[in-house]
């Protein structure tokens, strides 16, 4: 692999420039620049559809160490990835290991990026960049790999769900019990979590009318962008709330759930992206370390009477989960399915499964 040493750069919307070296594809791209503080799991993160339209900055400097695994499949899902393609628009890191080492690695990170035509930038002072994003909030930016300039593009203006959701329902067969998974950009591990519990999963597009499908539970998946853009999903969920089938919203799904109850969501200054977000279960002394990736949050104060804040973030107090007081409706802002990240809250799937009679 040939790493051009020509100076490439990241330009933020406030005009600041971060120089680095190009790897992966040589394409120039624009997107929303966000940072993730996780220290492992780049193959999973890069394929997480919630990053759609975003240029991802990894704060951990040494990336590429264990290469990229192969495309093995299990239950018709890629075993080592969270979706079928790289979802980020670009990747910005500090130190790149082109020479990797791992028993299940098949190629280098750069080779993989090239395969998916995604540009990467290394040699960047990612700490300074992160501080800037923290202070000024998430910004638009562009990765330029050559002298050509491109214009800034705001992904949040688009309906990103459309880009990441499947077009037609897919069925993953296991046991007799069935789960509807509304795919707003789902991570494979949500599907795996139910297959492991012997549920069949019917994965449907984000705007699919699932109300007539017979199912034992409904999952509204994670996904990219502003939840308010998912009008069709919100409409469907609103209707589902009038029935009794258990519902679990994850990340964007939780926001959609909140919007369906009439509560409000808002954009966080720089979001939560990492594997170390502490979430306290309201009314207890229990705190869980969670994996997160979101730029929007539920405004807990706007929840209606029969809903409660279930979890909140111990760092900044933002909402991390909602729960209905009597019906089996739940939403978590964090990712109980982890991947990458700690699996401390995996038990929530068991809890949800228990609520299915």
């Amino acid at each position: 692999m040939d790493i051009t040493t020509s100076k490439s750069r990241l330009i933020l919307e406030d005009g600041s420039i971060f120089y680095g070296y190009s790897f992966g594809s040589k394409k120039s791209v624009s997107g929303e620049v966000v940072f993730n503080t996780g220290m492992v799991g780049y193959p999973e993160s890069l394929t997480d559809a919630s990053y759609r339209g975003q240029i991802l900055v990894l704060t951990y400097p040494l990336i590429g160490n264990y290469g990229i695994p192969g495309y093995d499949k299990e239950d018709n899902l890629l075993r080592y990835f969270e979706s079928d393609r790289i979802q980020v628009k670009g990747l910005v890191i500090a130190d790149y290991s082109d020479r990797y080492s791992h028993w299940n690695a098949k190629k280098s990170l750069s080779e993989w990026l090239i395969e998916h035509d995604i540009p990467g930038l290394f040699g960047v002072d990612t700490r300074e960049l992160t501080k800037k994003l923290r202070k000024k909030g998430t910004m638009l930016g562009k990765v330029l790999c050559n002298s050509n300039n491109i214009s800034l593009d705001n992904p949040n203006k688009k309906n990103l769900m459309k880009e990441v959701s499947i077009k037609k329902p897919i069925i993953y067969k296991k046991g007799n019990k069935k789960i509807i998974l509304v795919d707003c950009g789902t991570k494979n591990n949500i599907i795996r979590a139910f297959l492991r519990r012997n549920f069949s999963v019917i994965r449907v597009p984000w705007d699919y009318n699932f109300l007539d499908e017979k199912a034992d539970g409904i999952i509204i998946s994670n996904g990219p962008g502003n939840p308010k853009k998912c009008r069709q999903t919100i409409k469907n969920v609103k209707e589902a709330l009038s029935k009794d089938t258990p519902i679990l919203g994850i990340c964007l799904g939780s926001q959609i759930l909140a919007l369906s109850t009439g509560a409000n969501t808002y954009k966080l200054k720089y979001g939560h992206r990492g594997h170390n977000q502490p979430c306290i279960e309201t009314g207890t002394k229990r705190c869980y370390i969670t994996s997160q990736n979101h730029g929007y949050a539920v405004e807990a104060e706007t929840l209606p009477e029969d809903w409660r804040e279930w979890f909140y973030n111990s760092n900044d107090g933002t909402n991390e989960g909602i729960i209905h007081i009597s019906k089996p409706f739940f939403g978590t802002q964090f990712h109980p399915e982890a991947s990458p990240g700690p699996d401390d809250t995996e038990f929530l799937f068991d809890m949800f499964v228990r609520s299915i009679k």
Partner: protein, 1066 residues
């Protein structure tokens, strides 16, 4: 939020870890100090038992009461009886404290006095300490531990091996040095191996073979509400098979995928929950490098060396938090002291990489193998922080201060490279580098070393840059290559060597090109939240500084670096105290140090902590950034002392005594000249010009002579030559150690006393001083000597002369600050042997015995502040302080446990007593000496020392001891009317033999005075000494020490020893 801590606890007993030794070093001063701070914050009274007087935790401003007493059940019970604490903390004093705690619980002592064990309950501790119990516990939750089974026949071995699957490890239970162990890849090999093994023993262990598996550690914290966090993950560069204390360790894990990492994390949490640990614990894993298969190796339910490292690596104050959790708090009730905005319930995210490198001092020990394995031999460690692995690695190697300039540019020759790779030694990192240079493929090296290829590729990156630099010159070198080299951790000196120019040429060139490091903070959250503390490091992998530097009124204190023989926790005490005085004087303080086992690297100690290299280049970099008023170099021992002159020559203001005068004292040539001018007596000396001249000199003054290089600490390469043959041998060794500074030989005076003065002077005038005498005669390194303060057997006239010499020296060298002079005295003749214009190893000892903080005074004087006159009567004590050395010979298999001019002790204790005898016995028990009950083995050396010991022998006999003796000694005793059973010399191989009596525990104490010369006898003596150490039988090898010991036990028994806290001695 409501604080739920246990309100009935008002007084807590904390057990320290005692003297520094291999496997148990300064990390427990860090953890204990943090615990005391955490408890103080809660208004809880703390009682500390720790005889390690040089620690910060035994400072008067920390614990409410300090007992300089042995940490054993006998004495701790006495303290409990006296102090009546409500609770006890066992997790902060290493294995020592844990063992005593378990014993106290088992004997019902804690129950008897109603003392509650805080934090992890005793049952949980037991299930981590007892291997069988541990395996049972882990199996209860269906997790995996290495399979191991004891077998008694070849057939059984084959059966077990079939079940485990080949290859298997065959190990002889309880064998020293892995004798008879081996790997069997198939049945045939196993039969061969076990047949051989059963000829030595009747039981062997068949274990699954995990060598070559990755070794990982996770630091886990749990509160009583079952909240769990994993604070740090660490990966060993060295695969399974090498003790983690010997391993190069990286944090966070580098070669694990997310799935592997979080799998191990989950298991770690499952285990700690199942074991019901409250507070902190460490869990070690082995991970198959070819699958996700794992084994749980062990759990330490206490603060450990790894947890200290994890604390420093992440900025997460594990010991502090563990103390709060022990009091009953939940993790969410404790604040993250770095961000001050978030709670302690989170897992740190690092945006840098940390590398720990152990430091060995193996060349200091006779007969020790340098190969690494399952036993720990390293005496200290450093931690480097960088934003590339290469940067951290090269930094770490320089931090070790073993003469290596980084990964490359060292003069190392490997005769058998392949062997070096297969059987790792302390030089393995350099052997791998050499192999890469020689063109070995990464696959081949990986096969030989089992080190993960990722680490090897990184080494290769450095070698590639080295190659590029070699084909360059100062003029030719491009800005991008220079920057690349700096980003990969090359020092200016390395680049200068490779491009054939001077270090400062490179420095000025790169500064002109704008290639300077930037300052980054360690903030636990990878910049996600603003950080309030100044825990800093420098890196070339970044473009912007995190902090605003160049504040006014800043003073830098240079720390002591890695702990090693001769430089240990005592210099940390000096640094921390100096910083504390500076803060009281309203200076902004900057600490530079690189040792994760220290208190000085706690970021709340100073205003800014640079966890970075103590090298000329790095200190200059920091000075460039911070523009301090000056640098204090006299507190951190020899490393900062050596930097004084170079820094001074680069226009850095050195505070205190002028670096020119430091050089005058350090350079033995200059110093000896100075003494001549001042008319101060010294042993006759000569600077080495040629071996012939040296021999001629030795002949003139007469053997023995002392050979010593300049600028060394702890007597490295210092030797006493008894003959011209030895002289030649030692001269060669000394010139190898240090090529830049000349070697000096001097007349060695036998039978003389050694006396030291620790002092502080102000503008050349002696301000305060402490004179201490050694129990051992001159010839034993001062670091290994037993020190007595105030002196009990030194003539007043000698003391007066010493004081005069100190005054003259202070004046002529215009000393401002701390200094130490060592003397030898025979009759009233006083000669100077060494002078250091810095704080010495014994500063904490004399400060704490006198209750006058010498470092505080020295710092005030250095800063030109007023100090009050000291009341002379404070030097007039009604009690005695004794400092005794701690040796780690047990850990160093094969080493000869004998004292000499080269220092061998790894730590020390000091105890106070109403008289010499009481303090002496206390201090001996504190370093693990067991008082003899019935039997003593005597072998008292040459005739004159036999004579000298005769009185003592008589006394021992009167006390009712039974003697065993070697032939010569027994005959001598008989001639003098004393009875002794003859035991044969080891090499005679006849029973009754000295060795079998020692190993059968028929001997309570061995007194073996070496004879020095004759080869055969030396080996016999060595075997006796070694056996005593291996079987934990107390051993005395020094005549003076033996005599004083006999005197003391004839007057004091352990029941007479008083349990008095430090403040009760007035």
């Amino acid at each position: 939020m409501i604080n739920r801590r246990n309100r009935k606890i008002k007084k807590i007993l904390l057990l320290g870890s005692g003297a520094i030794r291999i496997g148990q070093a300064g990390e427990f001063d860090y953890s204990g100090s943090q615990a005391i701070k955490a408890l103080k914050e809660e208004g809880i009274k703390t009682i500390l038992v720790n005889p390690n007087i040089a620690t910060i935790q035994t400072s008067d401003y920390l614990a409410d009461k300090v007992y300089f007493l042995p940490i054993d059940t006998f004495f701790v019970e006495k303290v409990i009886k006296k102090e009546k604490p409500d609770g006890i903390l066992l997790g902060f004093g290493g294995q020592t404290a844990l063992n005593v705690g378990v014993d106290l619980a088992k004997k019902g002592i804690l129950k008897k006095y109603n003392v509650e064990v805080l934090g992890t309950p005793i049952d949980s501790i037991l299930s981590t300490e007892d291997r069988d119990l541990f395996v049972k516990k882990i199996k209860e939750i269906n997790l995996k531990v290495p399979i191991s089974k004891a077998v008694i026949s070849v057939d059984e071995a084959v059966k077990v091996a079939k079940k485990i699957g080949y290859p298997v490890m065959c190990r002889i239970a309880y064998a020293l040095g892995g004798l008879g162990s081996g790997v069997a890849y198939n049945k045939k090999q196993l039969i061969e191996l076990t047949k051989k093994a059963f000829s030595y023993t009747n039981q062997i262990l068949i274990e699954e073979y995990l060598s070559g598996w990755k070794e990982l550690e996770y630091e886990v914290v749990r509160d009583r509400y079952n909240n769990c966090i994993v604070v740090c993950s660490m990966e060993n560069f060295d695969p399974m098979g090498i003790h983690t204390g010997e391993s190069i360790v990286v944090a966070p894990v580098q070669t694990l995928t997310s799935s592997e990492n979080f799998k191990l994390r989950s298991i770690a949490i499952q285990v700690i929950r199942h074991l019901k640990v409250i507070g902190e614990c460490n869990i070690q894993f082995a991970l198959d490098p070819k699958s996700e298969d794992y084994r749980i190796i062990e759990v330490n339910a206490r603060l450990s060396r790894s947890s200290a490292l994890a604390s420093k690596a992440t900025g997460y104050p594990l010991a502090f938090i563990a103390s709060k959790l022990a009091l009953g708090y939940s993790l969410i009730e404790i604040e993250n002291i770095i961000t001050k905005e978030t709670s302690a319930c989170f897992e740190p995210a690092l945006d840098y990489v940390v590398l720990k490198f152990p430091r060995w001092d193996l060349q200091k020990f006779r007969k020790v193998s340098s190969s690494l394995g399952s036993e720990m031999k390293s005496v200290g460690e450093v931690m480097a922080i960088g934003r590339t692995y290469e940067e951290a690695l090269q930094k770490a190697i320089r931090m070790l201060d073993v003469g290596m300039k980084g990964l490359v540019c060292n003069d190392l020759i490997f005769n058998d490279l392949e062997k070096e790779l297969k059987e790792p030694t302390d030089k393995r990192m350099f052997a791998i580098t050499e192999a890469i240079k020689k063109g070995y493929s990464i696959e081949k090296i990986n096969e030989l070393t089992k080190v993960d290829s990722w680490f090897l590729y990184k080494i290769k990156n450095i070698v590639e840059i080295e190659k590029k630099l070699q084909s360059n010159s100062l003029i030719k070198i491009s800005s991008s290559l220079l920057k690349d080299a700096k980003q990969k951790g090359f020092s200016d000196l390395q680049i200068a060597i490779l491009t054939n120019c001077k270090e400062l040429d490179i420095r000025s060139k790169r500064k002109k090109l704008g290639i300077v490091p930037c300052v980054k903070q360690i903030d636990t959250l990878a910049a996600e939240y603003p950080a309030k503390t100044n825990y800093l490091y420098l890196t070339y992998n970044g473009n912007f500084d995190d902090i605003f530097s160049k504040e006014k009124n800043q003073v830098i204190v240079l720390g002591g670096g890695a702990y090693r023989i001769g430089s240990s926790v005592e210099f940390d005490w000096c640094c921390v105290n100096s910083i504390s005085t500076l803060r009281n004087l309203k200076y902004k303080t900057i600490m530079i140090n690189c040792n994760p086992e220290t208190v000085s690297t706690d970021y709340d100690i100073c205003d800014k902590l640079y966890f970075d290299e103590l090298t000329f280049e790095r200190v200059l970099d920091i000075c460039d950034k911070e523009n301090p008023l000056g640098v204090i170099i006299s507190m951190g021992g020899q490393i900062p002392n050596n930097l004084a002159l170079p820094l001074h020559n680069s226009n850095v203001k050195i505070l205190g005594t002028s670096p020119i005068n430091i050089d005058n004292a350090e350079d033995r040539h200059k110093f000896s000249k100075l003494l001549d001018e001042l008319n101060i007596d010294q042993p006759e000396w000569k600077e080495l010009s040629s071996i012939e001249a040296a021999e001629e000199f030795a002949k003139k003054v007469g053997y023995p002579v002392l050979v010593r290089p300049s600028y060394v600490l702890s007597g490295a390469a210092m030797s006493i030559a008894l003959s011209s043959h030895e002289l030649k041998k030692y001269l060669k060794k000394a010139s190898e150690i240090n090529k830049e500074h000349p070697v000096v030989i001097s007349k060695f005076i036998t039978g003389a006393k050694e006396i030291e003065i620790d002092a502080v002077a102000k503008k050349g005038i002696l301000y305060c001083y402490a004179i201490s005498e050694h129990v051992e005669n001159a010839g034993v390194h001062s670091g290994d000597a037993t020190m007595v303060l105030p002196p009990q057997r030194t003539y007043l006239e000698t003391m007066r002369r010493i004081k005069i010499i100190a005054k003259k020296t202070a004046k002529s060298l215009d000393i401002t600050g701390p200094f130490n002079i060592q003397f030898i005295a025979k009759d009233n003749d006083v000669k100077v042997i060494e002078c250091n214009l810095r704080a010495s190893r014994s500063f904490p000892f004399v400060s704490k015995v006198f209750k006058i903080n010498f470092v505080d005074l020295a710092t005030k004087i250095i800063m030109g502040k007023r100090v009050n006159n000291i009341d002379r009567s404070s030097f007039d004590l009604d009690y005695v302080g004794i400092k005794a050395p701690q040796f780690s010979f047990t850990r160093l298999k094969g080493s000869d446990p004998v004292l000499g001019v080269e220092m061998a002790s790894t730590g020390e204790v000091a105890c106070l007593g109403d008289d010499f005898n009481e303090a002496f016995i206390k201090s001996l028990i504190s370093v693990g000496f067991k008082l003899p009950q019935k039997t003593i083995l005597l072998s008292t050396g040459p005739i004159d020392s036999k004579m000298e010991f005769l009185e003592s022998s008589k006394k021992l006999s009167e006390l009712g001891f039974k003697f065993y003796a070697t032939k010569g000694t027994a005959d001598f005793l008989k001639e003098n009317g004393l009875d002794a059973d003859i035991l044969h010399w080891p090499l005679d191989k006849i029973e009754p033999n000295t060795l079998s009596y020692i190993s059968n525990k028929k001997i309570d104490l061995v007194i073996n005075i070496p004879k020095n010369i004759e080869k055969e006898e030396l080996d016999n003596d060595y075997l006796i000494r070694r056996k005593a150490v291996d079987f934990d039988v107390p051993l005395i090898t020094n005549l003076q020490l033996a005599k004083r010991f006999v005197e003391s036990i004839s007057k004091v028994s352990s029941d007479d020893i008083k349990v008095k806290s430090w403040d009760e001695y007035n």
